[in-house]
Symmetry: C2
Amino acid sequence: MKAVETIKQQLDYIFYPNSIAIIGASRNPRKIGHQVVRNLVRAGYEGKIFPINPHAKEILGIPAFEKITDIKDEIDLAVIAIPAKYVLETVHECGKAGVKGLAIITSGFGEVGKKELEDEIVRTAKSYGMRVLGPNIVGVMNTRHKVNASFCPILPEMGDIAFITQSGALGIALVGWTKMNRIGLSSVVSVGNKADVDDVDLLQYFGQDDQTKVITMYIEGLHDGRAFVNVAREIVKEKPIIALKVGWSKRGRLAVSSHTGSLTGKDTVFNAAFKQAGIMRAETFQELFDWALALSLQEIPKGDNTVIITNGGGAGIIATDACEKYNIKLIDVPAYPDLEAKFKSCMPDFGSARNPIDLTGQAGHEGYNKALKYALTDDRIHAIIAIYCHTAVTDPMAIAEGLVDAINETQSRKPLVVSFIGGENVIAAINWLREQGIPAYPSPERAVFAMSGLFERKEILEKLNQHT
Amino acid sequence: MKAVETIKQQLDYIFYPNSIAIIGASRNPRKIGHQVVRNLVRAGYEGKIFPINPHAKEILGIPAFEKITDIKDEIDLAVIAIPAKYVLETVHECGKAGVKGLAIITSGFGEVGKKELEDEIVRTAKSYGMRVLGPNIVGVMNTRHKVNASFCPILPEMGDIAFITQSGALGIALVGWTKMNRIGLSSVVSVGNKADVDDVDLLQYFGQDDQTKVITMYIEGLHDGRAFVNVAREIVKEKPIIALKVGWSKRGRLAVSSHTGSLTGKDTVFNAAFKQAGIMRAETFQELFDWALALSLQEIPKGDNTVIITNGGGAGIIATDACEKYNIKLIDVPAYPDLEAKFKSCMPDFGSARNPIDLTGQAGHEGYNKALKYALTDDRIHAIIAIYCHTAVTDPMAIAEGLVDAINETQSRKPLVVSFIGGENVIAAINWLREQGIPAYPSPERAVFAMSGLFERKEILEKLNQHT
């Protein structure tokens, strides 16, 4: 018998394995067992890979084993992708082989009524000290450890956001979506039937994972809402948790029960529970990641005074409206004549320093750079929203560089969100800004929404501190 | 004196000119007068171009004239891009030269307090029978007539959506944005100071423009709200009008008055007026064009019964929630056993025909094609939302083709909106679908929102018919 391990130790075998066995590894590229091996190789996984296949000498050039008990090395993680009827026996063998953790991709258990078999698998695994992720999952990914033990063909960009998804299909689609949008993730985990490892375990785990700053979740239903709230409430003190809880509509609840078999309670209950736990609730996956991006890249504002820097009156008005919608307080710049004079020095006469600071359509690298430096270094300003509306005469990349230069020159960590509006070359600038660690968005409303996430986080932390 | 012309005739000179003079045409690429000539050439404008420049023999190879009165041909449109102090005199000359319509790009009039000069320019123009667009505008574009008489460097994609914008900068940025997103426009017009041609004129004009099916507007303020509502109410009987009215927040109102000098009333007044006129109100520019795309490409549903076809349970749940949010009624498929059997025949056993119709992650070209054909041809279904969540094993383009094939095979015009979720290759499929005339979006919520626009339009028409 092993000594009792912490959840951190148990799940490190799954998220940071030094060796991975793939049971059901196949030479047929259409088989999931083949894809997992291929995806590990493509991801550049540096640990040992052990394909298990009784009929193959090698898979993709990697020596294969007939059965897992033939492996003499330590095996941290076994990924199981064989028909459901063979899984229980295989779990026994994994236990005998000293495997530390299991990810069962195979489906056909609790979700089709075979809950007893599923429970027996978990009991068996636990008797050997193994935790089980799944069954019925896409797999698990860790960008820094270069693990793609899943049938999702691509590994996300590296970043600080952990993503826990109850829908495997949505998980795969969103890995592609986050990659395209330069949203960096630390880990992605599909929870499937949550027969053993569930949301509570994963919250505890990512709460302690050094590579994760923000935890995002796609939730259809929860097994134990009370335990979830209690754990979340602790984790939230250290890291933001953002949840997209779907199935809130009457008909959506029915769809949830037919999809994952999970019962989902009334939405008002979830709302109250999330609020109590300090979980931020997103309404769409775009909101989920818009917030997560800002929270993973930016610090929390030290006060409420926000300034909008723009080159277009219209875009400034849109951002101003959005600030009111999201309760963001715009500082009254003309109340501070020295500050107004500073901003006035960044623009032609017909500009405006009334907040929105309208640098006018002529503003390029220099105008944005200068105005942002004033905003970053003035202690009366606590948060900055910079907006660029693409014009006929300015280069979005030059302006993006002006913003990054201002941060480097001031070494300020004051929270900043950015919106660039326009076509292809604007998207290139947004992607580059995201790569530089600046949360940039293609519309002013989304940038302001992202900033609202930083303020909501600030409020949550303040409330938690009052209660302790 | 000319005979009195209709607004259609007057503005056709501006939107469908057979000849364009550019006053202030320059050899210097940094000058707006140069850019307008260049943009007309690049757009492939097929009418006559007359650059006016007292010091140049030609601009970009096109013979230039010293003054507009030197031109012996008919001149439909004169674009004015010279310093403000010379504009009045030039308008006189345009009148003498028999110019039919004016677009004054030059700024420095009403927006900086020179309202009297602006008024005199308009009086002068009118005395010669010319209508004035502007001053203080980006210019005017018409995609089918290949007119880009503006300093916006690109012409939008061809389409059926007219876009009237009170912000020139936002207009330019959104032309790039719509082009990138394959949203086709008929005309784009920046209204500037609205010294003469205003929103009311433009509504009347686009109401009669054969190339325009949907009218979109970015509005900061209106001169004459009552006239606007009265005209809009008539136009709406024929064509949808969608407005993004900004400056609704307290501070946004101040920003509007400092940006365009227009006073903007209380937002509740606008809301009531828009509702009375049957104008659809968008909250963001993304919503504006999400609705416009659907309304320009799809017909209005003949009833309320909507079906969701998906390959992923999660995406189906998200769409179901969104349908409840936007009051879209999902048909209870199992209540019609023959219909349920049809859909069941499109999927493996573990799929669901309960609506969302879950074809499962295995669904490819054939599954989507077959299910969509059943939905298109069954009279109990009136509207269709098709969702594809990118998987590891299916090709988004093949599925997009499956959808288009179903439409071609059935020749059905039943309204359809689509969402494809994923990365780059999914965006390619979305763009292709848009080019094929199918409103496709990168998230289920946006597709459902687009469908809600078709239903809102249906309701507006029903209400208008009750009142007449």
